[in-house]
Symmetry: C2
Subunit: 215 residues, 2 copies
C-alpha cells in the first residue's frame, strides 16, 4: 500500500465528496479532466493522486464512479469505523455537533465534554455532554480514537494531554495555540483567526495571484 502524503489525502477526501454527489445523480463514470475542474485542481494532479490508490480507469471512458468510490472507501475509512469526542460545548462546539449530526456513519462524534456543570448531563444534537473529568473513563469505555478541541486557548494544551492520555491518536484543534504532542499523534490545526488575517492580507494585494489555499 503506497504511502500517501498529507495533501494528497486532503484531495482524496474532496474527490470522494464530488463522487458521492455524482453517484447520487446516477453518473456512471467521470474523466480526470472533469473531476479536476470540479475539485479545482489540474487533471494531471488528479491522475497523480489516483496512482496511490492503484489503477483502474480506462482510456476514453474515464473512471467508473462506483469503483472509484469503493477504492476511496478502502483507503480512507477504517473498516470498523472511528469515533470522535468533542471537548468544549461552547458556540463553536455546538455548531460542529450540529454539522456532523448523523452525517457520516463511519465517523461520528459520540460524546462531548465540558467543564461547565450546567452543560453536563444534557445532550446537544443527540450527542451526550459529560463533565470534563469523565473524559478519560468515557473515552476508554466508548473506544474513542479522535478528539476535537473547541475550548479556549488557555485550556487547549491540558485538554490535548487528557485526550492523549485517554488513548487518542488524532486531534482537530480549533484553539489558536500550537499543541505540544508526542510523536505519533496527528494534529490538524484549524485557526479561524489566522485564516481571516491571511485572507485580509491577500485581498489587499491586487497584482499578485497567490495560490488557492488548502482547507
Amino acid at each position: 500500500m503506497a504511502t500517501v502524503s498529507d495533501k494528497t489525502i486532503g484531495r482524496l477526501v474532496v474527490y470522494r465528496r464530488i463522487l458521492n454527489d455524482l453517484a447520487h445523480k446516477q453518473v456512471p463514470s467521470i474523466h480526470s479532466q472533469d473531476l479536476a475542474q470540479r475539485a479545482q485542481v489540474t487533471a494531471a494532479q488528479v491522475r497523480r493522486d489516483l496512482m496511490g490508490l492503484g489503477c483502474f480507469g480506462t482510456p476514453t471512458h474515464g473512471y467508473d464512479v462506483a469503483g472509484f468510490l469503493e477504492a476511496l472507501r478502502q483507503r480512507l475509512d477504517a473498516p470498523q469505523g472511528q469515533t470522535a469526542a468533542l471537548v468544549g460545548a461552547g458556540n463553536l462546539g455546538r455548531a460542529i455537533l450540529a454539522y456532523f449530526a448523523g452525517r457520516r456513519p463511519k465517523l461520528a462524534i459520540v460524546a462531548a465534554f465540558d467543564n461547565d456543570p450546567a452543560k453536563a448531563g444534557r445532550a446537544v444534537r443527540g450527542c451526550p455532554v459529560y463533565p470534563l473529568e469523565d473524559l478519560g473513563v468515557r473515552a476508554k469505555e466508548l473506544k474513542i480514537n479522535l478528539g476535537i478541541i473547541t475550548v479556549p486557548e488557555e485550556a487547549a494544551q491540558a485538554v490535548a494531554e487528557a485526550l492523549i492520555a485517554a488513548g487518542i491518536r488524532g486531534i482537530v484543534n480549533f484553539a489558536p495555540a500550537r499543541l505540544r504532542v508526542p510523536a505519533g499523534v496527528y494534529v490538524e490545526d484549524i485557526d479561524i483567526t489566522t485564516s481571516l488575517e491571511k485572507v485580509a492580507y491577500f485581498a489587499r494585494r491586487p497584482a499578485t495571484t497567490p495560490p488557492r489555499s488548502k482547507s
Copy 2:
C-alpha cells in the same frame, strides 16, 4: 517590498500571536530558536520567513520584540483597517461572531446577513444581522472588503457571487464546496469535515510520521 508566499504569511500571523503574548509578559527580545519552538517550526524557517520583512535582529541578542511586532504590523495590517461581512447566521456563524467580537480593532466583522427573516433585525454579539437581500447595498455602504461564508453548501456559490458583486476581494469559506471565483479574489477554504477525515486517516497509521498540518 518582497513578495511573500501564502504559507509564509500564515506563519507570520502565528509569530505575531506569540510575540503579542511575549510583549504582554514584558519579554524584551527573543531568539529564532525560541520562537521556532513556540511556533513549532525550525529555527531556519523562522529566519527565512523574516527575510521578507527586512532585517533587524542582532546576533547574540536575537530580535527585539517591539520592533518585530511593528514590522509585522506594517506588513500584515491595512493602515486604515479592514472589515468583514459574515453571511449565514446559523450555529457556526454565531460561533464565529462570538469569537471575533471586539478582538481585533483592525479587522472586525461589522455586519451579518441571513435569509431567514426571523434573524434579520436583531444583533448577535453586537453585530447587526440584515436580510440577505441587503448584502449589496450594505456592503458598499459600510465599505466591507472581506466575506465569511457560513451558509449551507447549496447556497455558497450564490453568496460568493453576491459578495464579489459587492466588491469583496477576499473570502473565508466554511461551506464544503469549492467556490468558482474570478481571478483576483482570494478564497481560503476551511473544511471541517475534510479536516476530521484527514485526522481520522492519519490517526490510524502508527508507523508513518506525516508532517503537521497548516491551518
